[in-house]
């Protein structure tokens, strides 16, 4: 246990643990609806958009978090609008968004002289990057998402299972879509600093996919996703400390291992 006490004696580890657990809860909750509605890759697209926003914020010398959040929310709304109009296929749209954001971010960092940005920490995350403002924001978002799931659980289920039916019985599907897009954006921006633009979407997808292996009701999938997400993050964070590996990659590896085990146990 001495290694655990040592690990937790570092302030940056405490911050990473708190932000990571809170982001894991949010990512798992919104992940259930995104994965079941076959919108899993939206998190990936938004994380790349967040990378572009972070890079531009660095170049313009703006507070990255407060610049990236509104930008990514605006992009998520645009994606929704395009998706609804069906002018561009959803998958193609997200692929375009990912590549374009990555390109814009990379150019912004490369072209402007005197910008001191560690590209790796944006792409793969950094345990040192979380601040107290991240903690407060994560806490507020987590409380909002948990309350949303507690009080609108039945509506979220209806929309996720059959959007047309939900709309027909009067559920404001457009409102919930926009709300989910905004929450997903904030979660991606917060989690991206810790896990990286390339890995944050795994936090949204893995827990739902794993819990669907054994949970047969929507309520249980939601509950198990949260538990799996938090436990896997904590195991990943601890392992990354012990073996001196990047946190994001280790968390994803732990999730992958758990998924493989569940696949083997329940073929």
């Amino acid at each position: 246990m001495s290694w655990f006490i040592e690990m937790m004696s570092y302030t940056f580890m405490q911050r990473a643990l708190i932000v990571g657990v809170l982001v894991s809860i949010c990512a798992a909750l919104i992940g259930v609806s995104l994965v079941l509605r076959r919108n899993s890759m939206i998190g990936d697209g938004l994380s790349h958009a967040a990378f572009g926003a972070f890079a531009i914020a660095s170049v313009l010398n703006l507070a990255p978090l407060w610049f990236a959040i509104p930008v990514v929310i605006a992009i998520s709304f645009l994606v929704l609008r395009f998706n609804n109009n069906q002018k561009i296929n959803g998958d193609a749209l997200i692929a375009l968004l990912s590549a374009s954001s990555l390109a814009i971010g990379t150019i912004a960092i490369s072209v402007v002289d005197g910008v001191n940005v560690d590209l790796n920490s944006y792409l793969f995350g950094s345990i040192l990057s979380t601040s107290w403002s991240d903690i407060w924001l994560s806490l507020i978002v987590t409380i909002a998402v948990v309350l949303l799931y507690l009080f609108a659980h039945n509506r979220i289920f209806a929309i996720t299972f059959d959007e047309d039916f939900a709309k027909a019985v009067g559920v404001k599907t457009g409102f919930y879509d926009a709300l989910f897009a905004a929450i997903c954006s904030v979660v991606v921006v917060l989690g991206m600093r810790l896990l990286g633009a390339l890995l944050i979407s795994s936090l949204i997808i893995f827990p739902t996919v794993i819990s669907m292996r054994f949970a047969k009701s929507f309520r249980k999938v939601v509950l198990f996703s949260v538990i799996i997400s938090v436990v896997n993050f904590m195991v990943g964070l601890t392992l990354s400390y012990l073996i001196s590996a990047p946190t994001g990659a280790t968390v994803v590896a732990v999730n992958l291992l758990v998924l493989i085990i569940t696949l083997l146990i329940k073929k």
Binding site: L36, L150, F161, D164, A166, K167, V169, G170, V171
Partner: protein, 225 residues
């Protein structure tokens, strides 16, 4: 008898492509209407317009005094539903009551009782805690029908409900619908087939090249078969 649903000069279009052209028809209380037409003729578009999911370009849909859009039970095509969705039968059927539990955070006792009654009526109460993914095609149809019935006791709209059902399941399904119609439920059902055994209603709405006509089933069968 006053119409329960009326369409007046209804025109529906996707961009410049006009799918329904100036349609006018009336559905009376306890009618059983079959909507027929070729693939892509606009059957589902007409249904979605009645449900308020698509806005008409012009014209209007009006409802009888005791009816609102929310009080219509809707059963979509089964291909629209993910067959492996992790949900219990009870979760699905209960979601049908959402239209009557406006702005409430949780289901009421009344909603739970309604869901239980519908499950019992369709003789699938034993499947209450079974996962949707573990059901047969026929059972899945019954669950989606139960959800629609949890939403309404007045008008039921079904989009090709007999798809993917074998002959025996289809006949059993039609028998259930006929009984509910006899008990007072108004039914509008899209059907793909033009066989007499699929045209089980008293009226036919046929869509051809955007033109919509409404007539008795006897008239329709007399002309086409």
């Amino acid at each position: 008898m006053t119409p329960i649903i009326s369409a007046t000069n209804l025109t529906v279009a996707y961009g410049k492509n006009q799918v329904i052209h100036s349609a006018s028809f009336a559905v009376l209380e306890q009618d059983f209407v079959c909507v027929v037409g070729a693939n892509g003729s606009g059957k589902s578009t007409l249904i979605k317009t009645i449900l308020g999911l698509i806005k008409p370009k012009s014209g209007k849909i009006t409802f009888g005094s005791s009816i609102t859009r929310r009080s219509i039970g809707f059963m979509p095509q089964d291909v629209m539903i993910d067959a492996n969705f992790p949900a219990t039968v009870y979760e699905i059927v209960l979601s049908g009551t959402l239209g009557s539990s406006d702005s409430r955070f949780f289901y009421r006792k009344k909603d739970k009782l309604r869901a239980a009654n519908v499950l019992a009526k369709l003789k699938i109460a034993n499947l209450k805690n079974t996962s949707f993914s573990d059901l047969s095609g026929g059972q899945k149809q019954k669950v989606l029908l139960a959800r629609a019935l949890a939403a309404t006791s007045k008008i039921l709209i079904l989009d090709e409900p007999s798809n993917n059902l074998d002959r025996k399941s289809r006949q059993e399904f039609y028998k259930t619908l006929k009984k509910m119609n006899a008990d007072g439920l108004t039914i509008i059902m899209i059907t793909h087939d033009l066989d007499a055994e699929d045209l089980i209603g008293n009226k036919i709405i046929s869509i051809n090249g955007g033109k919509v006509s409404c007539e008795t089933t006897a008239n329709f069968l007399g002309r086409y078969q």
